[in-house]
């Protein structure tokens, strides 16, 4: 990504941004986030198919915000996250510059968030075939089978909260899972507590999750927790016509229609 390095250098040298967030070579075959604050560091910037971490998770962090205006090397899911965060008043044009990377790996710089929004709206949020198959498989199971599936899948979870840390939408300064008055979710890893934690996570991401799979990629045990949010995504489509992150307009779960349809309320 020569363009990206060049542009990052320009931005830093001209002081138009204080920090550029991108990817660098990490340990092993992994990439990690890089925070470029001086132009020499910009040479470390890379971009390839291994760069799947959602960098939008950093833009709500106090430590980054304090630095001043930031630029983010943003793939499509990251751009979606940024738009969602902007709609939740977490980021504005004044503190972010989006260096978009298109699905064809081309660099486009956006003047403002409205342009980013226009760009992401060209692409529907789609669930990939492999996960779709898995969802269908679960759908075909009986209720006790599904229960057993999730209890077994979630049992090894030791609540490292990597999923929460990786998620750009999980920026609450105090998460429900950390509450102890009342203690909604037990602190130690228990079969039921784990299920409650992941149900809670999925519910809080309903109508906000943009399906970047960062939670699944961050999970050290590769538990398919992204299936829960994917299911919510499909439900949002089925019941309320789906959603796209947008700068203006109501959020899916903070609004309603008087004629929302259901078939289970007596």
């Amino acid at each position: 990504m020569v363009d990206l390095i060049k542009r990052a250098k320009e931005l830093i040298e001209s002081s138009s941004v204080k920090v550029v967030i991108g990817y660098e070579q990490g340990t092993g075959n992994k990439t990690r986030a890089l925070f470029v604050e001086n132009s020499e560091d910009a040479d470390k910037l890379i971009f390839d198919s291994r760069c799947i971490q959602n960098l939008a998770a950093y833009i709500t962090k106090k430590e980054i915000k304090e630095k001043g205006k930031m630029a983010v090397a943003a793939t499509l899911p990251v751009m979606r996250s940024i738009i969602q965060l902007a709609s939740e008043f977490q980021v504005t044009d004044a503190n972010i510059l989006v260096l978009g990377i298109t699905p064809e790996s081309k660099l486009i710089e956006f003047g403002n968030l409205a342009e980013v929004e226009k760009f992401v709206h060209q692409y529907e949020i789609e669930i990939d075939v492999r996960n779709k198959e898995m969802l269908d498989k679960l759908e075909k199971m009986t209720q006790p089978e599904r229960w057993q599936f999730w209890i077994d899948e979630l049992a090894p979870c030791f609540k490292c909260y990597a999923c929460r840390a990786a998620c750009p939408m999980c920026y609450c300064s105090r998460c429900t899972v950390d509450f102890n008055q009342p203690q909604w979710i037990p602190v130690p890893s228990t079969e039921l507590g784990n299920l409650e934690w992941h149900i809670m996570r999925a519910i809080h991401l309903t109508g906000r999750c943009i399906d970047c799979d960062a939670c699944y990629n961050a999970c050290p045990l590769s538990i398919p927790i992204n299936l829960l949010t994917k299911r919510m995504l499909l439900d949002a489509k089925e019941h309320f016509g789906g959603y796209q992150p947008a700068l203006k307009g109501e959020h899916l779960m903070s609004t309603y229609k008087p004629d929302d349809k259901e078939n289970f309320i007596q």
Partner: protein
């Protein structure tokens, strides 16, 4: 062995279903005594975590009830609640929680008889389903404490 007496927790709104349940009593309509009513200011306040906690604490069934659409004391609480229930119920279903054990209903302050019917029907269906052992097993809730309604 005595017949299984399910424990039912009812989360109801103050303005409609709670008043409706009151009417059931003042109308001297007899209905199953398995239900424990928890009064909320509005259905919009009924957090999904409370439902999970009810099962955790040993409930075999749950009733969630409030004002009919357009009748909410706070104008839109039940509309918001309905959206949440649609998503939550689907997620429960997806994670294998038995959605037959959670009954959602609209009961107005004038529907004392409907409340009795809802409770009786729920008790009947939960009695057929039996104790929620699946959930209790992972919640490690002591079985002996559950069966005595």
């Amino acid at each position: 062995m005595a017949e299984f007496e399910p424990k039912i927790v009812a989360f109801v709104c103050n303005w409609c279903t709670y008043a409706g349940a009151d009417l059931t009593g003042t109308s001297r309509i007899k209905y199953a005594s398995n239900v424990r009513i928890i009064r909320f200011p509005c259905t919009g306040r009924i957090d999904y975590m409370l439902l999970l906690k009810a099962f955790d604490e040993g409930a075999d069934g749950i009733i969630v009830s409030g004002c009919h659409p357009n009748d909410c004391h706070y104008t839109s609480g039940n509309f918001h609640a309905r959206r949440r229930w649609i998503m939550f119920r689907s997620l429960c279903n997806f994670t294998g929680i038995d959605t037959n054990r959670i009954k959602f209903s609209w009961v107005s302050a004038a529907e004392g008889a409907k409340w009795a019917d809802i409770v009786n029907a729920t008790v009947k269906s939960i009695r057929e389903l039996g104790p929620y052992t699946e959930y209790k097993k992972v919640a490690k809730y002591p079985e002996k404490e559950v069966n005595h309604g």
